[in-house]
Assembly symmetry: C3
Homo-oligomer: 386 residues x 3
């Protein structure tokens, strides 16, 4: 696995840091973490409900390790690095995320593990992996491990649903926009002029594009599970599945149309396709469990594909030359812009008062505050971490 | 992505067509499509039942996008095209299929979306992807989009279960034989003499064969879900799972045996293995939920492997030279012949009156009529669409 | 598919053997195998319970065919062979395993198929595929088919839970240690001096390592399902999921740390990463459903990674030079040592009397006897079969 600037010194640093972190994690788990205990009374209702989430968990799990891991293999040279380091970060992140998220829900000083908390741990990892997409090739494994620890702290404290009563079931804002802008801010700080002209390693090749399609397709397939996994069972969960399914379908047709339109000679740009087809899943996230109707979901997907395409074609070069932000995998176009679009869509949904759960009212102000707050924490946190 | 004959003119044609189609789809969804509304009374029974189908839906979804997509990557040159265009067609097809199949089940002018209707939308897409396997390398993306629209119209109108009360739970006839003969008829019409000697692009390579095995294996694994997804819950669904599992296992051993037997020096032919191991899943489809017993299922799988092998070795060259039908991916051997075998097996099952649901009697005449009718509509429709 | 020493004679041998075996299997299924019949009374309870296992079955199924199949593709030259022959062996094994395991549970001379028996059939196949990892490149397909038949007979008779009342829910001992030592014993017997210096074909390449990561990651993801699939529903199944999830996460961080530490220049060794990250899943298997607490599971994963790493770096070369055992895929380090560790962990768990089901007491003596007995049968059986 190529890892630039990885000297003997680095070698011991990495091993030492990883071992020490893991030892601390085991100790903290020993102190705080317990199995969930189900009272006999709850057994049939609550425990069944919780194991019914297991297939959703597995779908999300596949997205984190196969989806994110292989999506980044399109880079000829970083192929194995991306899928390998993706695994390392994710494995570290799910342990740390369990603790950081658990601290907000402690009962009598204990963190209780459920399938839902495992889904949330996977979610917190997603944030880091999105940021990693902006930083691939710029950071060493040691830096990525430190970033993982820091980003999950910021993520857990920004978990806006505890502050505002905003809705963001598929986490367009909390995960996607957050992860993207955190990573971009860190990338700006880590900017080195020598990298300016674009790294030679950053080309894609024929086989590497097929590997990347493995990532794209597994993300695409299981996105309905991502957006519905922690939704309220019944109508909201059902709507989250259906809306995401149709948003992605509309997004894919639009992404192919746009890619052909803006490319020379009408060919499809592979990296563009690999990413823009997924923008609909990101953008529909915030509203996924609301009654936005299927055509509303498709409209969101359609617009997301266009915005993502414009980002790839025009914004990424601008970011690199003017703002000195090199977005290795284009996370701004897949997670950043569509994440903001998701936030805006949720503001509109609040304004026109689409159908929602009576117990979860949505308001324009809360959604706007959540969006602004997420972006703020992401940019400041990312710059700090970088 | 290489796409022969894709001029500037084509570029705007494709983009325009895709955008217009998507806009029409969004409009039609706005007019006709609604969420399923569950009355409070049904909530526990019907809604639970419908979300229990979600894992089956995801298995089928993986087959459509990963299975069909990667199965066609064995072609060295069309690797990315096949998995990319597969995604485009499928995304278009699930939207169009939702409408076309929904029109047959409208309630008060509305199409209601359930997990089952999403499975059926994926099914209608499967038909087009099978035909695509016969046409790969002969058609432009524009032609494929038009074909998708046309084939799903024919498919929905040929959905024989509404006309005849025939049984075809795993759709050996309605999907596999239909898709194959539709595609072959279209390929015949699109025949160009320049392609006669076999396209240079149609070779396979070492790595492309491993990518194709990703497709093969995911199809193989989830075929029990394909054949049981819309079966009646309880015994029929259980039988569909078990019968498909054992049919595929027997088919695989027979496919390796036959491949070694007919190849020079006893080696295995990779393209043959990639396809013939799946023939048992196709062939057992029509009878999957009937009480054909496990050894009956294994016999069907065994015969399917032999028929598929003979098709690859002897029939495909004959089709190309005498009938001028170039079957790029050998869909005749994977879907066509085993699909017919499935229809015949269901006729035999009707004749010997195997166990079935009292509410779904099966008769020799109905099964034979369904098989004949499907083939007829496929050939006429395919020639017309071509 | 390259297959050394595969002459014309061999060609007919293989085809004949495969056809005859399959014919015998179909006949035996005709005589002994029946669908499970659910009495009306049991319908709601038992049948629902059994279809709830279907997602677990599919996860295990993916591990067997995708996981084991692609894990072995890291070998440049044997890429297609490994995934192809893996499929053949597994397809044969699930039929034979259904019969062999079924004979222990016959009711009125019948073997009844349930989703659980399908999971057990997949399990019996896993044993053979582990052994195959030690034998890849040394055996012809004919030999592998005979070995499959023999190993599953030994495996079924060693299925210790019927003799001892030992606990081994994730089969650290019964599957992993058994399969590894059976394969190593066979490899010792099949040792040919010409292979001593290491086969030229046994190198890995850049693309083949990415294919192998497909195998690694799908095994990693679904291991919680492997260890919990046949656990008692409720708390034990829930604990098996949670313990395996955290054991694997801790194992992965430790595996990267150790790999960086022992490699030159701090790089990661890819083959090491591909395997050692999984050792935690193997090692936690025996105790997975017990109340070992999450930090206990993480400790087991941590130690497993270190032991597996030491095995790869130091033991594998020693085995090859002193004991003349060439372990092609390093199964000793992934399944053998961590399997024994799992057995030892279960002895310790018994000694400190961790939480368990009242109906399943665990004792030090029984666990130790099970471990010793499994290893004994594996070594003798493997040498005999070799």
């Amino acid at each position: 696995m190529p890892s630039s600037g990885f000297s003997t010194n680095m070698r011991f640093k990495f091993s030492l840091l990883a071992i020490v972190l893991e030892a601390i994690l085991i100790a903290l788990f020993g102190i705080f973490v317990r199995y969930k205990e189900f009272s006999t009374y709850q057994l049939h209702e609550e425990q069944t409900l919780h194991l019914e989430l297991y297939p959703f968990f597995q779908d999300v799990h596949v997205m984190i390790f196969v989806g994110f891991g292989f999506l980044m293999t399109f880079l000829k040279k970083y192929g194995f690095t991306s899928v390998g380091i993706n695994m390392l970060i994710a494995a570290l992140g799910i342990q740390w995320g369990t603790l950081m998220q658990g601290f907000w829900h402690m009962k009598e000083g204990e963190i209780q593990i459920t399938v839902k908390s495992m889904i949330n741990a996977d979610f917190s990892t997603a944030t880091v992996l999105i940021s990693f997409g902006a930083l691939l090739g710029k950071t060493s494994p040691v830096q990525m491990m430190i970033l993982t620890i820091m980003e999950i702290i910021f993520f857990s404290s920004s978990a806006l649903k505890y502050y505002f009563s905003a809705t963001d079931i598929g986490a367009s804002m909390t995960i996607h926009a957050f992860g993207a802008y955190f990573g971009l801010a860190a990338a700006r700080v880590l900017y080195r002029p020598g990298l300016k002209k674009g790294h030679e390693n950053e080309g894609s090749s024929y086989h590497s594009d097929k590997f990347a399609m493995i990532g794209t397709i597994f993300l695409w397939l299981f996105w309905p599970s991502f957006n519905s996994a922690i939704a309220v069972p019944g109508d909201p969960q059902y709507r989250a599945i259906v809306n995401t399914y149709f948003s992605l379908a509309a997004c894919t047709v639009a992404a192919f149309a746009f890619s052909s339109f803006i490319e020379h000679r009408g060919k499809f740009d592979m990296v563009h396709i690999q990413n823009a087809t997924l923008a609909g899943g990101v953008a529909v996230g915030s509203c996924a469990d609301l009654g936005i109707k299927t055509f509303g979901a498709m409209l969101i997907g359609f617009v997301a594909a266009i915005i993502s395409g414009i980002g790839f074609k025009f914004l990424t070069p601008l970011l690199a030359s003017y703002l000195k932000i090199q977005d290795t995998c284009g996370v701004h176009n897949l997670h950043g812009l569509p994440g903001i679009l998701g936030g805006i869509a949720s503001i509109i949904a609040a304004a026109i008062q689409v159908e929602h759960l009576p117990s979860h009212p949505i308001s324009v102000g809360m959604q706007a505050a959540a969006l602004g707050c997420t972006l703020g924490i992401a940019l400041i946190g990312g710059a700090f971490a970088g």
